[in-house]
C-alpha cells in the first residue's frame, strides 16, 4: 500500500467535496443546521393538557375545584360535557386528553371530610403523556382537598424526601435532548460516504479508477479519510449550536468529544463500507441507510425511552446501532462531564464496529465491476 496514492485519492475526494457547494454544505454544516431545526421542538418545556369537564354536582365547591386544577395553565378546559358519550367523542377525536367527572354529592362528601370520589378519564393512547397527566391531576386534586378542608389537618411529615436531579437540575427536555440529537444529526457524513462509494459504480467513474494503479485499500482509506475529516470538521458547528445557541452546559473535555465523535464516525462509516460493497446504486444504499440506521435511531437508541436491557433481542438490536452508543457518550461528555473510563463499553463497541467494518470492507472489496 502506498501512502502517496492514498493521499492522492484523499486529495481527489476533498476536491470533490469542496467543489460541490451543496455537497460541502451537506457533509459539514448540515448536522448543525438540522440540530438547530430539530431541537427547537424542545425549547418550550410546558405541558398542556386539554380537559373536558362533566360537573354533575354543580356546586360552588366543584366549580372552585375546576378553577384550582386549571389555575396554572397546565390543564385547560376545552369543553363542558354532559354525558360519557360526549366525553368519549372528544377523546376519540383527540380534542381533549382527559376528562374530569365530578359526581353528584361531591361538595357534600368533601365537606363531611371525604373521601369524595372524582373520576379522571384519560386517553391512554399516548402512555407517557397519560402517566404525566394523571400524576399532575392527582397532585392538584390533593392540594385542593387540603385547602378546602381548611389546610389545618395536614398529615405529619415522617420522611423528608430531598430529590435532586443531577446533570440537569431543572429536568429540562432541551438539555437532555440536544446532546442526544447530536448523535442523530452526525450520521450525515456516513450517509454521504455510502453514497459517494456507490455513486462511482453507478455513474461509471469507477471503471477509470480500476484502470489506475490505485489498490483497493488505498481507494477505500482515501475515501474514508476525506469523509471522516469532513465529519469531524462538522462537529464544531454542532457543538457551537448546542452550547451557544441552546445554552446546553458542556461539562466535559472538548478534545475528548471530538475524538469520540471520530470513533462514532468510524463505526458508522464501517457500516457504509460494507453496504457499499453489496449495493450497486445509490437508491438502494439510501434505502439501507434509512431503514437500518436513521429511522430506528429515533425509536431504539435510548433517545426518549430507555434501551430495554431486560430482553436479549432488544439489547442486541439497540447495541448494534452505533447511534445508541453515541447518544450515551454525547450525554455523558456534555452533561455528566465524564472522561473515557465510565464510557468504555460504548467506546470499545464502537471501535470494534469501526475496525470490523473497515476490515470486512477491505476484504470484500474487489477492483472490478
Amino acid at each position: 500500500m502506498s501512502p502517496r496514492r492514498t493521499l492522492a485519492i484523499l486529495r481527489k475526494e476533498f476536491r470533490h467535496i469542496f467543489r460541490d457547494l451543496r455537497l460541502f454544505f451537506l457533509v459539514t454544516v448540515s448536522p448543525a443546521f438540522l440540530l438547530l431545526l430539530l431541537a427547537h421542538v424542545f425549547v418550550l418545556d410546558v405541558q398542556q393538557i386539554e380537559v373536558a369537564v362533566w360537573d354533575l354536582d354543580r356546586s360552588p365547591l366543584s366549580r372552585r375545584m375546576v378553577a384550582a386544577v386549571t389555575s396554572d395553565g397546565e390543564f385547560q378546559v376545552q369543553a363542558w360535557v354532559a354525558s360519557y358519550s360526549e366525553l368519549e367523542q372528544l377523546l376519540r377525536a383527540g380534542r381533549v386528553d382527559c376528562g374530569l367527572v365530578i359526581p353528584e354529592g361531591f361538595a357534600r362528601q368533601l365537606e363531611a371530610g371525604g373521601p369524595a370520589p372524582v373520576e379522571a378519564v384519560v386517553d391512554g393512547s399516548d402512555p407517557i403523556a397519560a402517566i404525566q397527566a394523571v400524576f399532575s391531576l392527582s397532585q392538584r386534586t390533593t392540594a385542593f382537598a387540603l385547602a378546602a378542608s381548611g389546610g389545618g389537618k395536614s398529615a405529619p411529615v415522617l420522611i423528608d424526601v430531598r430529590s435532586e436531579a443531577w446533570y440537569n437540575p431543572a429536568l429540562k427536555s432541551l438539555v437532555s435532548m440536544v446532546p442526544g440529537l447530536a448523535a442523530i444529526v452526525l450520521s450525515m457524513p456516513a450517509l454521504a460516504l455510502a453514497l459517494a462509494l456507490t455513486r462511482e459504480k453507478e455513474v461509471g467513474s469507477f471503471e477509470s479508477l480500476i484502470a489506475t494503479p490505485v489498490r483497493g485499500a488505498e481507494y477505500l482509506l482515501g475515501k474514508l479519510g476525506a469523509y471522516l475529516a469532513c465529519g469531524i470538521l462538522g462537529v464544531l458547528p454542532v457543538w457551537l449550536v448546542a452550547v451557544l445557541y441552546f445554552r446546553v452546559p458542556f461539562r466535559g473535555d472538548f478534545l475528548l468529544y471530538l475524538a469520540l465523535s471520530a470513533v462514532y464516525f468510524l463505526a458508522e462509516m464501517g457500516f457504509s463500507l460494507i453496504i457499499a460493497n453489496f449495493v450497486r446504486n445509490q437508491q438502494t444504499a439510501m434505502l439501507l441507510v434509512l431503514t437500518v440506521f436513521f429511522v430506528p435511531s429515533f425509536f431504539i437508541a435510548g433517545l426518549i425511552l430507555p434501551v430495554d436491557t431486560r430482553n436479549l433481542l432488544s439489547t442486541l438490536v439497540s447495541y448494534a446501532l452505533p447511534t445508541t452508543h453515541f447518544v450515551a457518550i454525547s450525554r455523558g461528555v456534555f452533561l455528566k462531564g465524564v472522561g473515557p473510563a465510565p464510557l468504555q463499553t460504548h467506546i470499545l463497541l464502537l471501535l470494534a464496529m469501526g475496525v470490523g467494518g473497515l476490515l470486512i470492507g477491505l476484504v470484500l472489496f474487489r477492483k472490478r465491476l
Partner: protein
Amino acid sequence: MTARIGNLIWKELLQLARDWLLTTFLFVLPMLQLVLLARATGRGVKEQPVVILDLDRSAVTRELAVRLDNREELVVTRFVEDERALEEELERGEARAGVIFPSGFAGDLSNPTRAAPVRVVVDGSSDAVAGIVQSAVETVFADYTRQRLAEQGIRTDPAIDLRVVTYYNPTYNVRQFTIPAQVGFITYQITLVIASLGLARERELGTLEGLIVTPLSRTEIVLGKAIPAFLIGLVNFLFLVAIARFGFHVPMRGSFLLLLALTVPFLLAEIGWGVIISSVSRTQQQAILFVFMMALADLTFSGYLVPVKNLPLALALVARVVPMYHYLTVIRAVMLKGARPGDLGLHGLALALLAAIILVGAVRRVSRRLD
C-alpha cells in the same frame, strides 16, 4: 394517453424488477424493520436500575429497599458503600437513580418531633426517564408514610379520591403507541425514496433527455414516476398494518377502510414532495441528502417526539402543513381509539388539501425544469 402512461409505468416496474436487490429490499426490509423495531421497543419505563447507599443499615431501610424494588418502574441493582460509588454508577449509566439513607434514619423516623431525611438522586441526562423514576421513588415513600400513620391511627387519605379510568390502552403499553408511528414512518420512507430518485437518476445517468423527446407530456412523465411509487408504498403499508395487527396485536378499533382512504392522500403528498426534490436536484446524492433533511423535519413536526400542542406557536403552525403530523394523528386515532370519519374530518381535509397542493406544485415544477 393512458396507454402511454401505462407503458412508462411498465418500464419503471421492469427496471425495478431487474434490480433484484433493490426489489427485495423494497418489500422485505420494511417488514423486517418493523418486526425488529417493534420487538426492540420496550413496554415503557419499567424496571429502571436504582442503587442504594444505606448508611443506616436498619430493618426500616431494608424494608424500604424492598418496596422500591417491588415498584414496577424500578429495580434495585446494587447496594453501594459510599457516595463516590453511587456517583460512578450514575456516570456509567448503570443506575438511573440513587437513594441515600443517612445513618440514624430509623431513629428519626420513630421520633415524632423530627422528619427522617432521605436523599433521592436521579440521572437528569434523560429527562423523561428521570421524571418517571423520580415520581416512582417519591410514591414509595409517600405510601410507606401513609401506612405508618394509619398504624398509629392517623388517617391521611386525601379527602378527594381520584379514580383513574384509562381508555384505549389501560396498561400503558408503549408499544401500542410506537408501532402505529413506526408503520407511518416506514411507509413514508419507502415511498419517498422511490419518488425522490426517479427523475434525479434519469438526469444523472443521462436518460432523461431520451424520455423528454418521446411523445410523453410532462404530466405523463410525473404520473409515470408517481404511480409505481404509490403502488409500492401502498403494498408496504398493507403488509405493515397486517404485521402490526396480527403479529403485535395492536388493535384496529376503527374502520380499516377509513385508514386506507386517508393513507392515499398521505402517500400522494409524500410522492409530490419526492418529485419536487427529484426535480431540484442535479444528482442523486443531492436528492438523497435533501430527503434526509426533509425526513428529519417531518419527524420533528410529526408529534412523535413532542406533542404538537406543546410546541411554540410558530412551530405548531408549521406542523399543520406537514402531512406526517396529520397522518400520525389519524393512524393512532383509527387503530387505537376507533375514530370515525366525523372525528377526523379536519385531519382528512388537511391531508387531501396538502396532497392536492403538493402534487400540483410538483407537476408545475417539473414542467419548468424539464424544458
